[in-house]
């Protein structure tokens, strides 16, 4: 027994600072947040103790989820996530696929595709606000003007000003920034496949297309899953970009993170906390099965 402790004690000790920090800064704070969400603390006076605060358990959640405004935010979140994911996966995979086989200047292409990831959302917001300007025709500027200049005038549209699909336009800068990262993941995935596998397939008479489709693509599914999870959870936090481009007060591009910000500014801490909990639950529903799956897969 002492020998076991000597064996397990040190690693546990080594990892314990991280554990304690995360226990406090993640789980502890989440607990506090959840507690606030279960109260009726909607004014600043209550927060400083000058007015009574009572437990309302799930009332805030019921009210939020039933409100048309929040439902609109959720719908926007779904649209944004789907477009963002689809866009980055498509371009990332396409670029990796194009670059996998020997290409001259591969390093240049890779650097250029990867470069937007270096830019902060604050910085890219500055220019994308111009590009996504929704004027069309005579007064057009931004991408609409560019479309006119190159003869693609029919592509003009009102971008994020569209009350139903506007949020999809906000996904464009996000796709621009993150596709390079997905490309890097897939490229690493492609290159990580052992040479023997490719040789074996060729020996069996497969042509390039069949090689890709039946041998290489399936090997990439763990990489794809990784990419979906990492990129997907980023979309749930989408906030900086919307703040930069369309400003928080606009109804078209409202998402839950923006609602939380507005509640907070209105001193409505209980509802802000409730939105936080809802976001967390959405994340948990998507992430926890993934984590469990990794856990199980590794036991084999």
């Amino acid at each position: 027994m002492p020998k076991n402790i000597r064996r397990w004690g040190p690693p546990l000790l080594l990892v314990s600072p991280s554990l304690i920090l995360l226990a406090v800064f993640v789980y502890g704070l989440l607990a506090i947040n959840a507690k606030t969400a279960g109260t009726d603390n909607h004014t600043a006076a209550q927060t400083t103790g000058r007015a009574p605060v009572q437990w309302v358990w799930f009332d805030n959640f019921v009210a939020l989820l039933g409100s048309e405004s929040f439902q609109h935010s959720l719908k926007n979140l779904v649209i944004y996530t789907v477009v963002f994911l689809a866009g980055t996966m498509f371009f990332g995979f396409l670029w990796a696929f194009l670059l996998d086989r020997p290409v001259r200047f591969e390093g240049w292409f890779r650097s250029i595709y990867l470069f937007p990831m270096a830019v902060s959302f604050v910085a890219s917001g500055v220019v994308w606000r111009w590009l996504l300007n929704s004027n069309q025709g005579e007064a057009a500027s931004g991408l609409n003007r560019l479309f006119q200049n190159v003869g693609l005038g029919f592509l003009q549209n009102n971008w994020w000003n569209n009350p139903d699909w506007g949020i999809a336009a906000i996904a464009i800068p996000a796709i621009w920034q993150m596709s390079g990262y997905v490309m890097a993941l897939f490229l690493a995935g492609f290159r990580g496949i052992p040479e023997e596998l490719r040789e074996a397939a060729r020996v069996d008479g497969a042509n390039e297309w069949q090689l890709y489709r039946h041998v290489l693509f399936p090997q990439l599914s763990p990489v794809a899953l990784s990419a979906v999870i990492i990129v997907g959870h980023m979309s749930l936090k989408a906030f900086d970009l919307i703040m930069s481009i369309s400003k928080p007060a606009n109804y078209q591009t409202k998402v839950p993170a923006i609602d939380m910000y507005q509640f907070k500014l209105s001193f409505d801490y209980a509802n802000a906390a409730a939105v936080g909990v809802i976001l967390l639950v959405i994340v948990a529903i998507l992430i926890v099965p993934y984590l469990v799956h990794i856990n199980r897969a590794e036991k084999h």
Binding site: P102, V122, V126, V127, W130, N149, R198, E208, F239, K264
Partner: protein
């Protein structure tokens, strides 16, 4: 025969030979022309925003207007760049002072965690890893207000010191993830051999594992550098324009004035992105190489 171990020491593997009878490497086929055309088209598309940023940064006031976004400057001027440099110089240095220590510390901690959770295990290691990993996915807004209270009570000065602490703590999940996956792809024999020789955990880590961790360190450092450099949420809450990083200063520059100076905003945006851009240009191939060595597999 190439092994996973070899890839640890090369920055990037060369693309596999196409082999096969008909597709020679240098043959100009319609397929290859189409491929290059496609790649070039994407380059143009990706660089469109950069073109606007660059071109506007050289325009004087009046010229730097959305209606003239696509035209070249009527008069090329450097005043935006000097203005942006003057405004962003001090914040840039502060950001470096914030990003370098926090990346290094979180990389080291992540490496130790990853090693312990992957190779020097203990009961409950997997559960603990899952608990750590979950921290990566929380929306930060959910903890912001109690966090502010907590950091105030901690006595750590606001600005760079607080931000270093926060980036280290909230970087722990992703750095642990990357290192753990990486160490799982390292052959177990290495660690076992050391154990058999009687080396303790720390000794094994120091003399056996750490030396071969370079590719993973590169990935983690690049990732942490970028995410800390571009962070805005923590910067807004825990620092001010006097002691904060470049994202705050850039926001002031771009959104602060009653009448937005577009020229200086765009040059500021480029200036603020330059360091991370350099990191990617210089270390990009190591990034991919590191990813390849199993750091972020599923």
């Amino acid at each position: 025969m190439a092994t996973a171990y070899d890839s640890l020491t090369e920055p990037i593997k060369a693309a596999p030979r196409t082999g096969g009878g008909t597709a020679g490497r240098d043959r100009v086929t319609p397929g290859r022309i189409a491929k290059y055309a496609l790649l070039l088209l994407f380059v143009v598309i990706v660089l469109i925003p950069v073109y606007v940023l660059l071109v506007t940064s050289f325009k004087g006031t009046g010229d730097a207007d959305p209606s003239r976004a696509w035209s070249l400057p009527q008069v090329w001027t450097l005043e935006n760049w000097s203005g942006a440099w003057a405004a962003l110089q001090a914040p840039l240095w502060r950001t470096i002072a914030l990003v370098v220590p926090s990346s290094l510390i979180s990389a080291i901690l992540g490496s130790m965690n990853g090693f312990v959770l992957a190779r020097w295990r203990f009961p409950g290691a997997d559960i603990i890893f899952t608990l750590i990993l979950f921290g990566m996915f929380i929306p930060y807004q959910a903890v912001m207000i109690p966090l502010v209270q907590l950091m105030l009570n901690s006595g750590i000065p606001s600005g760079v010191p607080t931000l270093i602490v926060l980036h280290v703590i909230y970087g722990l999940p992703i750095t642990t993830l990357i290192f753990r996956n990486y160490y799982q792809s390292v052959p177990n024999e290495l660690v076992e051999a050391a154990r058999v020789d009687g080396a303790g955990m720390l000794r094994t880590y120091w003399s056996v594992v750490l030396p071969i961790s370079v590719p993973s360190f590169v990935v983690v450092l690049i990732w942490q550098f970028t995410s800390a450099w571009n962070d805005f949420l923590f910067a807004v809450f825990f620092s001010s324009s006097r002691n904060g990083p470049v994202t705050i200063a850039l926001n002031n520059l771009a959104n602060g004035a009653m009448l937005t100076d577009y020229g200086i905003s765009m040059s500021g945006a480029l200036l603020a992105s330059l360091p991370t851009l350099l990191v990617y240009v210089l270390l990009g191939k190591y990034f991919i190489g590191g990813l390849m060595s199993g750091s972020v597999k599923g």
